[in-house]
């Protein structure tokens, strides 16, 4: 029998009474479980009788296993029969000294449940009208990007080296007069301003003319990868051979043709194409803005208590994702974070925030879906499955077998709810 109390923080306190029979059953189960691995003189392995076993090891040795078994049964039963939506592992409180063979016992489980969401205002929220027009400047920037992508390096015969130019030069590096390994190269190609070299190197090369030789004085940074060079002052003798400058191709009909884009053979067509693409992106972006706004508002207007366990669990899930990602690059999490330049504390804090937010959004949309009776139809589910099948390049039967139908349903409903919310916005 179970007694249920709601306590603060969207938690539930369940007091569960275990009867003598249930506990005896648990003991039997525990004995059957350990029996096979017990060896007592006079008995073959796994053939020992209960009474002999208990005399040897004491009936107490079965308690832990029996209690676990009984708890699993009774706790599960309590959750089922009371329709609790548990979202985390329970915290169980039991005074083990009070457990005795031939008697029942009572234990208390505290568990986080899905919080009850009190919805606030979510329909007919006001949102400013967003411009859906792609400007000429945007189209021009897009085309300029294309030009830059197709830029060619041209020799620069005159003048001096400038930021953004590419230099071809020899260099010989020395520390305290000694040449060091990897410090020399001939005909090296370097884009000035690309920050490939030690800080200060590229800057000092600016202003050199072809054929000029110069000593560049730099200090290796403290975090340089070579141990023996860390923090050392070095002199590089540099000789500039050639300079190259990036030359943008002119926007002509030929240029458009050279791009070899399908169906585009004139400047006008290129512009229209760019405009269309930008239009699609803009509409999607606007939709995202509206969705973001309405979901955030709806969440802010609702009230609910997020249980901490739920957030922690979601956080751990997110963290696993990141760890997996890092693994793909053969890195462990700490190194990965080192590269991104985020401290572990900040990273965890961010994850916690993300976790809390995504749970809140989910809870609120779920509550709205329930209130508005938004459900997924069979056709919609099938469509989603087909989509997934295409995405993973699997047969539909395979997808059905490997995916939890509830999850698919959840996703479809979520999307419908979002659409519903968006269309309910009052655009001003």
């Amino acid at each position: 029998m179970a007694k249920i109390d709601n306590i603060a923080g969207s938690k539930v306190r369940i007091e569960i009474e275990v009867t003598k029979e249930q506990f005896d059953h648990g003991l039997d189960h525990a004995f059957n479980h350990v029996k096979d691995s017990v060896e007592i003189k006079g008995f073959r392995k796994g053939k020992v009788t209960r009474s002999v076993f208990e005399r040897h090891y004491g009936v107490e040795s079965l308690y832990e296993e029996a209690i676990n078994h009984v708890m699993q049964d009774t706790y599960g039963e309590a959750i089922m029969s009371n329709d609790l939506e548990v979202v985390a592992q329970p915290k169980i409180d039991l005074d083990i000294t009070k457990v005795e063979q031939g008697k029942g016992f009572t234990y208390v489980a505290e568990v986080a449940v899905k919080p009850v969401v009190t919805l606030g205002e979510y329909k007919g929220l006001e949102f400013e009208k967003l411009s859906e027009v792609v400007t000429d400047e945007q189209v021009d920037t897009e085309i300029q990007k294309l030009q830059e992508q197709n830029a060619e390096l041209a020799l620069k015969e005159e003048g001096t080296l400038e930021d953004g130019d590419t230099a071809i030069f020899d260099f010989k590096g020395s520390v305290d007069g000694d040449f060091f390994e990897g410090g020399t190269a001939e005909n090296y190609e370097l884009k000035i301003g690309s920050k490939q070299f030690i800080p200060g190197f590229e800057e000092q090369m600016v202003g050199m003319a072809i054929g000029e030789e110069k000593d560049v004085n730099v200090t290796f940074p403290e975090n340089y990868q070579a141990e023996n060079l860390k923090g050392k002052d070095a002199v590089f003798h540099v000789k500039l051979h050639e300079m190259k400058v990036k030359e943008l191709p002119e926007l002509t009909e030929e240029f458009v043709k050279e791009l070899e884009k399908e169906g585009i053979d004139s400047i006008a067509a290129l512009k229209t194409d760019a405009r269309e693409k930008l239009q699609v992106a803009l509409i999607a972006e606007n939709k995202n803005k509206r969705v973001d706004f309405v979901v955030t508002e709806a969440t802010n207007n609702s009230s609910f208590e997020l249980p901490e366990e739920m957030i922690t669990e979601e956080k751990n899930r997110l963290m696993d994702n990141v760890t997996q990602q890092a693994k793909q690059y053969n890195l462990d999490l700490d190194t990965y974070l080192g590269f991104t330049g985020i401290s572990k504390e900040d990273f965890e804090k961010n994850l916690l925030n993300d976790a809390a937010r995504s749970i809140s959004y989910n809870l609120v949309t779920e509550a709205i879906a329930k209130k508005e009776a938004i459900e997924a139809t069979e056709e919609e589910l099938d469509a989603k499955l087909l989509e997934l099948a295409a995405q993973y390049k699997m047969g539909i039967e395979q997808v059905k077998a490997s995916i939890n139908p509830e999850a698919v349903k959840h996703e479809v409903v979520y999307k419908k709810t979002i659409d519903f919310l968006e269309s309910s916005l009052v655009i001003k």
Binding site: G42, T49, R50, S51, V52, E54, R55
Partner: protein, 94 residues
């Protein structure tokens, strides 16, 4: 002989436990000089039960060698004691 001299210890093995469960027979290790009547009386005195039958089993001493030295594994005499209905001996059950 004293009853406690005749009865040495209970024999608790898979087989003896089976006999207890199915036939109400209890197996003990006994002094080899004791006869069945003495065993019956000793059991009745020690455990306060009614004995209907006693069977004796002698396991012959087995020759054992440790290097040069030879010796014998101890001779064990077992007595399988059948009790009257509803009589039990505590030390065999829990």
């Amino acid at each position: 002989m004293l009853a406690s001299e005749i009865i040495k210890r209970p024999i608790i093995t898979e087989k003896s436990m089976l006999l207890v469960e199915e036939l109400n027979k209890y197996t003990f290790s006994v002094d080899k000089r004791a006869n069945k009547v003495q065993i019956k009386k000793a059991i009745e005195e020690l455990f306060d039960v009614k004995v209907t039958k006693v069977n004796k089993i002698k396991t012959a001493p087995k020759l054992k060698r440790v290097g040069q030295h030879t010796g014998f594994k101890a001779e064990v005499v077992k007595a399988v004691v059948t009790l009257a209905k509803d009589n039990t001996i505590e030390i065999f059950s829990a």
